[in-house]
């Protein structure tokens, strides 16, 4: 009952062009049926994410570990709440990040859980930069 070959093939890596995404905007793409949020973060959002003491977080992880070095403005996360799988809304909540409307989990501008029932940060999918304005997810 595991995924069949066509499902696996359809889950192959995808390339996303980042050039149309302006600062402060974000886009949602689907990969393997999951929504992936790609946020072009503002300076303020990055500073906020880095100002938090990592040890104080429910799921400690530094912002640097969640983005690619040299591309600090780009946050790529799987937009599925780690609580029960709803889709959080971007640019909402008290932490300049994501807010899940189902059970009220709030994530910060680095996609880390800050408040609510979710146990973990929004996962970062495997991806790499193929050029400065293009990433490959998967």
């Amino acid at each position: 009952m595991n995924p069949d070959a066509s499902t696996i093939a359809a889950g192959a890596p995808i390339e996303v062009d980042l050039s149309p995404v302006a600062e402060g905007q974000d886009i949602k793409v689907f990969w393997r049926g999951k929504p992936i949020y790609i946020s072009h973060r503002t300076k303020k959002q990055i500073d906020e994410a880095r100002a938090v003491p990592v040890a104080s977080l429910p799921d400690p992880q530094s912002d640097e570990a969640r983005v690619k070095a040299g591309h600090d403005q780009w946050l790529v996360v799987i937009g599925i709440c780690t609580h029960l799988g709803c889709i959080p809304i971007a640019h909402e909540g008290n932490y300049d990040g994501f807010f899940c409307p189902c059970h009220g989990s709030q994530y910060d501008s680095s996609g880390r859980i800050r408040q609510g029932p979710a146990p973990a940060n929004l996962p970062v999918p495997p991806y790499q930069f193929v050029s400065d304005t293009k990433i490959q997810i998967g």
Binding site: N2, P3, F30, G33, L84, G85, C100, C102, G104
Partner: protein, 687 residues
């Protein structure tokens, strides 16, 4: 099923069969001469009611499966077409969907009856555990069945419930992938859920056979909890129990029919009339009412894994009940303390159900935690403790002695229990969207409301005109074919009028012999064409918000009525939240937003739209559409007409539903009376 039968058929053909396969003897000993305690009350008829409901669900389900398409792109539409085009498809679907709720309603009463009268105690432990297994199978079946229509609640319910398994350490993620058959809930998930939803009822039927077998070996428990000793304590199953069960089923059918014919959407969620969309989460994901107490327990526990364990243990703990409650006295009738705690427990379950439907914030979370503790305390502290400290009242020596001592007190306790059971049922129906703020849509005097409601033909025809001239510029109506305009119970067009109406439309067809697509005039069998070729085009042309399809809009929109109105609605048959909302939105536009409300550019202020910022500009203004029949050309009249029309597009068979409902009710009431008097006659010598 209790030992070899001495049944000897007189017919030689039956004798021939009986010598080779003693199946008639089995039936005879299990359902004819089987001794059943004389003092059983009506709570014992729920076993028969449940068997009836299982048969009903399997029968309607098998027919529904003949018309259903288990594919993510087609499932929603196939259910809608089933309801619209299949002969009595609406009836089958209502019977099956409401039947699930009725099944659970009956099983809860059956379980609470077992709890109250100690039916799980020696020698009926295995019987009880088999019952818990049936209940678990029912929950799995019900959940997967709810996924099949592939609406928003189906999809997101499936997502939330399958994600529960991801809480299991180490293997959780693999289990979830196995359930999904992919990387998320999708077409493979729907396919396997369909397959399992078809399979599990037959497993249930198998376990029910074991359940009945175990019952007939141990014998039935009874309200006094003393085992039958002499023949005077029992009566033969047929005709006594058969006829009594028949009367119970007839009464139950009255309730069932109330939902099927008059309140088919009362127990459902309006969001499930919106096709599944993996990119949009509904604001509140609420399971079906029968899962709400367990959902409340899940959410009360702040840790994810602990929450899942808590939820499942709430059910599994029932298996250990025979050993947790060691009291010798079976029936709570003779246990003054246990009786009180039982009713407290029932209240805890009802309240948990209510909380399960509320948003998880503030006081609801705290109340949920307190009640979760109470729920488990009943099993783990109260019952073990009571069996040690409680002094039961003396139990009668035999069933016949108990019957002789019977007083009028039983009537009062049955009345109390009935009220509590009714509250249990409706108390779990709280709507999560009760307090979303903003004014409630005003009520209207709809021609189609109430048990005798009919569509106003004039309003349907005028509403069609409004749709055609105004709404259809942006909104599709894709489940409605031109031929439907001539259907009975609809706008009442003649065949010629339908053909003329259809031929005004240009329908894309093809490919022709040259391989090209071409346009031709519409025919009666064609569906209303959509204004945009696809959803993306609709979105792009309308500032990012795709105008929703209107075929189901009056059923896909609702608003919370709140406590206690939703209880009143059950009796008043109020079903018109959707039309009230649609009509209110059409009239709720205001040129200027009130102070303190900012409306983003490209949106408009609407008093009744959730969030108040609607992308649709004010669609109707006075005099926009000319009416030929002299009705006032005002926005209020337009809104009323087009809403009536859209109610018809959502429920084209409503008039047939209410008409047949009346016939069924007349029949059932007469039938129930006949059963009652037959029962009285049969039991005349036994009381």
């Amino acid at each position: 099923m209790s030992g070899p039968s001495d049944y000897q058929p007189s017919n030689p053909a039956l004798q021939w069969i009986e010598r080779r396969l003693p199946i008639l003897g089995l039936v005879h000993s299990s359902f004819v001469v089987y001794p059943t305690p004389r003092n059983l009350n009506y709570w014992w008829t729920f076993g028969a009611i449940l068997s009836f409901m299982l048969g009903m669900q399997i029968l309607t389900g098998v027919i529904l499966a003949m018309h259903y398409t288990p594919h993510a792109d087609l499932a929603f539409k196939s259910v809608e077409l089933l309801v619209r085009d299949v002969n009595y498809g609406w009836l089958l679907r209502n019977m099956h969907a409401c039947g699930a709720s009725m099944f659970f309603f009956a099983v809860y009463i059956h379980m609470l009856r077992g709890l109250y009268y100690g039916s799980y105690k020696e020698p009926r432990e295995v019987l009880w555990i088999l019952g818990v297994i049936i209940y678990l199978l029912m929950m799995a079946t019900g959940f997967m069945g709810y996924v099949l229509p592939w609406g928003q609640m189906s999809f997101w319910g499936a997502t939330v419930i399958t994600n529960l398994f991801s809480a299991i350490p180490y293997v959780g993620e693999s289990i979830v992938t196995l359930l999904w058959g992919g990387y998320s809930v999708g077409n493979p998930t729907l396919n396997r859920f369909f397959s399992l939803h078809y399979l599990l009822p037959f497993l249930i039927a198998g376990v029910v056979v074991l359940h009945v077998w175990a019952l007939h070996v141990a014998g039935q428990n009874n309200p006094d909890g003393v085992e039958p000793k002499t023949e005077k304590d029992t009566v033969p199953f047929t005709p006594h129990a058969t006829i009594k069960d028949g009367f119970g089923v007839a009464c139950f059918l009255l309730l069932y029919a109330w939902f099927i014919f008059y309140m088919p959407n009362y127990l459902g969620d309006a969001d499930n009339y919106i096709p599944a969309n993996p990119g949009v989460t509904p604001p509140h994901i609420v399971p079906e009412w029968y899962y709400l107490p367990f959902y409340a327990i899940l959410r009360s526990i702040p840790n994810k894994l602990a929450g899942v364990i808590g939820m499942f243990s709430a059910i599994i703990i029932l298996c250990f009940l025979p050993w947790l409650d060691a009291a010798k006295t079976k029936s709570s009738k003779y246990r003054p303390l246990a009786k009180q705690f039982f009713w407290i427990f029932v209240a805890v379950c009802i309240l948990l159900g209510y909380l399960g439907a509320q948003p998880p914030e503030g006081i609801y979370v705290i109340a949920g935690r307190v009640l979760t503790v109470c729920y488990f305390a009943y099993f783990l502290i109260v019952l073990p403790l009571l069996s040690r400290i409680e002094t039961p009242r003396p139990v009668p020596n035999s069933i016949s002695e108990a019957i002789l001592a019977k007083s009028g007190k039983a009537v009062a306790s049955i009345a109390v229990a009935l009220v509590a059971a009714g509250a249990l049922f409706v108390g779990t129906l709280g709507d999560a969207r009760a307090e979303e703020g903003g004014p409630k849509p005003p009520g209207n005097n709809w021609s189609f409301a109430g048990p005798f409601g009919k569509y106003d033909r004039g309003a349907l025809q005028r509403g069609l005109k409004v749709y055609k001239e105004v709404c259809s510029n942006c909104h599709s109506l894709s489940y409605i074919a031109f031929r439907n305009l001539g259907d009975p119970g609809g706008p009442g067009y003649s065949v010629a009028q339908v053909a003329a109406f259809a031929s005004d439309y240009k329908i894309k067809d093809g490919p022709n012999d040259a391989g090209d697509m071409f346009e031709r005039p519409g025919r009666a069998a064609d569906y209303f064409p959509s204004p945009f070729p696809n959803e993306q085009a609709a979105r792009a042309a309308n500032g990012g918000a795709a105008p929703p399809d209107l075929s189901l809009i009056t059923k896909a929109r609702s608003y919370g009525r709140g406590f206690p109105m939703f209880l009143v609605d059950f009796f008043s048959q109020y079903q018109e939240q959707g039309p009230d909302y649609v009509s209110a939105v059409l009239q709720g536009f205001e040129d200027k937003a009130p102070e303190g409300v900012t409306i983003p550019e490209g949106s408009y202020y609407n008093k009744y739209f959730p969030g108040h910022a609607i992308k649709m500009p004010k669609p109707l203004s006075d005099g926009q559409v000319t009416y030929d029949d002299g009705s006032p050309a005002t926005v209020a009249q337009y809104a009323k007409d087009v809403t009536t029309f859209l109610m018809w597009t959502a429920e084209p068979h409503m008039e047939a539903r209410k008409r047949i409902g009346l016939q069924v009710f007349v029949f059932l009431i007469i039938f129930a009376f006949l059963m009652y008097f037959t029962k009285k006659k049969v039991w005349a010598d036994s009381h």
